[in-house]
Symmetry: C2
Subunit: 214 residues, 2 copies
């Protein structure tokens, strides 16, 4: 259904182990974003890169691990992208506003779906469970760092930045999960989340709603 080569023809192009491993990782990532983590299957990945299932199996200790690694890669990339997006922001206030806007945007729905898959699958996939914990901690550290900087400049006020970081992430994850089922009220909720952040960080009302009317 796209520009991927199917049909493994005999004697497929030989590639270096590193290149092939990378190819598999990319395919798994694309599949996960399109069809969710459960879509990562031996035959699915193989078909996408025009190769035998046996080859994919050959490059992976187990599918569980490939799923865990793929989740990890997707979320790590997500954090990286968001960090890059916040880089141009001058000051913690602008950065926080951008963070909330970005994380609550509809374009993140595929990543949100991956998170939901991971929370669900994590109970039966130990490797994935570990990775989920690691990535949650990474996100929390990222947000907590932003908050700490804001407290440092005196712009934010918070007793427990660690907890507030967890709170903000919880709000975002919860509302994004809801958004997968009921897209409707995203608009008014975004504004509400900004308000919550303002309240919990001792900001003046409206500070986080610069130009966006949402």
């Amino acid at each position: 259904m796209s520009t991927v080569q199917h049909e493994p023809r005999p004697g497929a192009r030989r590639k270096s182990p590193a290149a092939r491993a990378a190819e598999i990782a990319v395919a798994a990532r694309e599949i996960a974003l399109a069809d969710g983590l459960p879509g990562i299957t031996l035959r699915g990945v193989a078909a996408r890169i025009g190769v035998t299932p046996a080859l994919v199996s050959h490059y992976q200790p187990s599918m569980e691990v490939l799923v865990a690694d793929t989740f990890s890669a997707i979320v790590a990339a997500e954090i990286g992208e968001v960090a890059e997006e916040l880089a141009p922001c001058i000051g913690p206030v602008a950065a926080l506003a951008a963070l909330i806007d970005s994380l609550l945007g509809p374009e993140r729905s595929s990543v949100t779906a991956v998170w939901l898959d991971a929370w669900s699958l994590g109970r039966r996939n130990p490797a994935l469970a570990v990775e989920v914990g690691v990535q949650m901690d990474a996100w929390q550290a990222f947000v907590a760092d932003l908050l700490r900087r804001g407290v440092g400049t005196g712009e934010f006020t918070a007793d427990d930045t660690e907890a507030v970081a967890w709170l903000l992430l919880g709000i975002i994850d919860g509302l994004n999960a809801h958004g997968i089922v009921r897209y409707g009220h995203a608009g008014s909720l975004r504004g509400l989340v900004r308000t919550v952040a303002e309240h919990e960080l001792g900001l003046a009302a409206g500070v986080l709603s610069h130009r966006d009317p949402g």
Copy 2:
């Protein structure tokens, strides 16, 4: 691993269709709470009630539907239990405090896991997707009603009770999802959620933290 009869012996006790259907529903519910929605399998349910897989299949249009119905039953029961729990509370403030306490408690983790399974599975199970939407709306209606009552008595202040209801549920769902992976910081977060609720509903600080130090 419990007091359920396995081993379907030839000529198992005959039951009325209604009784058998109920038995299947109960078994599915127990399995879901113990092993998650994906644990609801033809053979799994059959084994639990000491019956052939064919019989379970005979009573259900499809497993997808049984999963959807089971989810619906679990969540409906959840709402009912919580509603009952809030009944003795005098006034919306006490009710809201009890609601937050109850919903963020560690004893809800199995139900939270079911929610996560449902959000994940819903993408591939249309019947379940519908049921997830319905139950989310039911929860939102329940909370919104509580908020509206509070606004009515003048105890709460909120422009958009519908949106605040979604917000509260989003916070709770998100933090509960986190709690499945990282149980640790539940304590401080519960207090933080109370604070958020106080802020967003125009309540005095600490009003929602009656006796519980959290």
